[in-house]
Symmetry: C2
Subunit: 467 residues, 2 copies
């Protein structure tokens, strides 16, 4: 086996680091951003790492057909999947079943409800995983470490193990991982297939020890396991949290266009205190209860009327999932209700931004006094780490104890149970009232905690797990 520091690396994920669009009749590829891509940039640029992902758009598919090279000569291979399989695997299995199970979002009295359609979709999910596995078998360098990302790609292990025993395979879950009671909501055959495959990777990683322990419990209490099996027979299980790239983010925050957004925000809110949330418009993010808590705070504290603004940047997500569309309506209705109840001619308590704008979001992170991150459950939550890195005002983080980031940040954040509207209101009020020296101490410590890890640390943990 090669020295670990030299070993070739293959990253596998549904969404890749490159996407294409048509510009003046030409296919143009651009590099994406984000912690994963930033962390891998040096590896990709050095040619040590290659990346396999799905073609997600028509332009991506055209780029595959035309064998267009990735920008900057990156070793990125996009797979042209069967569109029907891709839709079933992505929408019905990944996002409407596995996502809901791992986040505990099903209203079990009514859903899921499996019929033959679901089983067909599971077969599509299996085929998509198989296409990814074959691509790795064909193109991975000898002895490579293969780092497979997330719940879209749980079933690749058996093929990799049998056809390419030279590879070391690591599966990393970016979501929470359901414990035994919730995992049993999957049809038994699908659950068995998924656990069998996950257990056949050389290692399985999670953002926190809690999700890792859930997975170990799933293996240990799996009907196929004997009661003596305490440690999984095969897969190494590890916890390693992803971090944001501080340099990248700070450079964005200092950019002229971000500063423009900041000025425009300051004109809008003047010297009000500012509560900020930045999330996809998503059930697990618990947006409605956040507004209910703000409503309760305004009810309890007339001294805050006209003095505080809640800026909620809630960006479109999975709009073809009916549950998401319904949730968006509930969010909009709650904003309307709170603004109608408390708003005046000169004060709009909640500003809701529903158009995705990264630079405006970073500007909001610079300006907040309180950052509210209150998910029902969350694999990690990068916003909780990004805010403290760029905030200009020693703002305070109010953080759900159910976000993976809580494990790292609990000593410097104010913790809330996401279902506890009373407590959320109380903590937001407390955060707004903190005296400047407390605020500064807490925010400085928090930024230090966040800076302790880089995306490269996370990558190194996966490579170490690959052995």
């Amino acid at each position: 086996m090669s020295d670990r520091t030299e070993r070739p690396v293959v990253i596998v994920s549904n969404r890749g680091p490159v996407s294409y669009r048509v510009e003046d009749g030409q296919l143009v590829g651009t590099r994406g951003a984000g912690g994963l891509v930033s962390g891998l940039a040096p590896l990709l640029d050095s040619g040590r790492a290659s990346w396999i992902a799905a073609a997600l758009s028509d332009a991506d598919r055209a780029a595959v057909a035309d064998r267009v090279s990735a920008p900057d000569g990156l070793a990125v291979r996009l797979l042209d999947l069967d569109p029907k399989d891709q839709a079933l695997a992505y929408d019905l299995i990944s996002n409407q079943t596995l996502w809901f199970i791992h986040h505990g979002l099903f209203d079990l009295t009514r859903s899921p409800s499996y019929t033959a359609d679901w089983l067909e979709a599971w077969e599509a999910y299996r085929r998509v995983n198989q296409v990814f596995a074959q691509a790795v078998c064909e193109s991975a360098p000898v002895d490579a470490a293969v780092l497979i990302q997330d719940y879209h790609l749980t079933l690749m292990a058996p093929t990799l193990a049998s056809e390419r025993p030279d590879l070391s395979t690591v599966h990393f879950h970016h979501t929470p991982f359901a414990g035994p009671d919730m995992l049993r909501v999957l049809p038994a055959a699908a659950r068995d297939e998924m656990l069998t495959s996950l257990n056949a990777y050389d290692a399985c990683g999670f953002h926190t020890q809690d999700w890792a322990e859930n997975f170990e419990q799933d293996l240990r209490r799996w009907p196929h396991a004997t009661s003596e099996v305490v440690v999984p027979a095969k897969a190494k299980v590890f916890a390693s949290s992803l971090s944001t790239d501080a340099g990248d983010l700070r450079s964005t925050a200092g950019s002229e266009r971000c500063v423009e957004h900041l000025r425009s925000l300051e004109e809008q809110i003047a010297d009000s205190q500012l509560i900020v949330r930045i999330d996809r418009m998503e059930l697990s993010k618990n947006i409605v209860r956040g507004f209910q808590a703000f409503d309760l705070l305004l009810q309890q504290r007339s001294d805050l009327h006209g003095q505080v603004v809640f800026l909620a940047c809630c960006y479109p997500s999975r709009e073809n999932v009916p549950e998401y569309a319904r949730y968006k309506e509930e969010v909009l209705a709650e904003v309307e209700r709170v603004n109608a109840r408390w708003g005046t001619a000169i004060w709009q308590p909640i500003l809701l931004e529903t158009n995705d704008n990264y630079l405006r979001s970073v500007a909001a992170l610079r300006r907040y006094d309180v950052l509210l991150v209150n998910p029902i459950r969350d694999g990690l939550n990068l916003v909780a780490k990004e805010g403290p890195l760029v905030n200009d005002r020693f703002g305070t983080l109010v953080l759900s104890t159910e976000a993976g980031a809580w494990a790292e940040l609990q000593s410097a954040a104010l913790g809330i149970n996401p279902f506890d509207v009373e407590q959320t209101a109380e903590m937001m009020g407390l955060a707004l009232d903190l005296d400047p020296s407390d605020r500064k101490t807490r925010a400085t410590y928090l930024a230090g905690l966040v800076a302790e890890r880089t995306p490269l640390d996370w990558l190194e943990d996966q490579l170490a797990a690959a052995g």
Copy 2:
């Protein structure tokens, strides 16, 4: 310490073995039935055991005020709780929070949502537990084993441990027990208080190893616990399933009035095959998906049209809980839909009985060809054990793998994932088609499995855990 076989016993539960009603202006007490009461009958009659429970009705309260003795000279003490506390503790905490959490029934996107009202209700729950604890402290014989039943009474331990260290205390949970992710849906302070108290009983019992392991995981992964604590420091944790009293049940099944119900049922359905379910009208029982599966079966199998009847005895439960009322409407609508779709002038596919009638239920258990027990999650489920004991036709049990009874009966029942409507339809069809000798073998084996345990075995396990 006394010899275990002589040790005095105190049973504590919300609902006691005796209730009162007014008849001709007089308070009349009657003994209840059920596995718990049957199992304890010899102990109660011998005077070794006493029982503390809540007064649940005005007549019960009047009996407390008038110091009316319990029937048969039984040592039963009913507690006259503050009605407002009792309502808050029973409705809001026990049935609308703890029940939902242990069964995984919350639609977490929307509920629970804790505000100050909930905290007040928790205080009421705490006071109700305290009244029970004080009653035990005052009246338990020296060195008694105190057997505390169910999720209504989780907080008694600290008072008992400090005021009556001579007692041995056992808490038995009749529901499932939520694992860490779901238990964290409770406000942190309430969860900490509950786990602290449960851990301060001498032992905690559950119907199955799965629920016991969930509880152990809760203790182990509780933030207060250090990572080294693998085995709980204090409470012994044990699994022991309750059984039905076969003698009692068979005598009811053979009674003249039950036989009359059976004849009337046979007139109604003639020689149709019969699918039966008997449940409270309750979210966890998964009644709607049962009808959806029956609908699917009729869609797939025209040979069954006119040949099979689904008798669903779904009795009123917690009708003042809004979620239950809503669910009842959904059940009624689904029955109407299926009957409208398939019914003919001479065949009504689903017969729904919503008035509780124990003798008619037992008659239905004698007559079924298929017994459907498909809960989303269930601590045990006694119907799954009662059916095989009295069924006349070697009927087949189709059983949810999420019912506690599955752990004992899986080798003789047909298992289903309760969310899998396709599989439920398939298993009901398979059960209807089983050839007579298979049917007989399976049913005989099943009845034997059920008969392996008696309510007394369960009681003895608790006494053994008391030490």
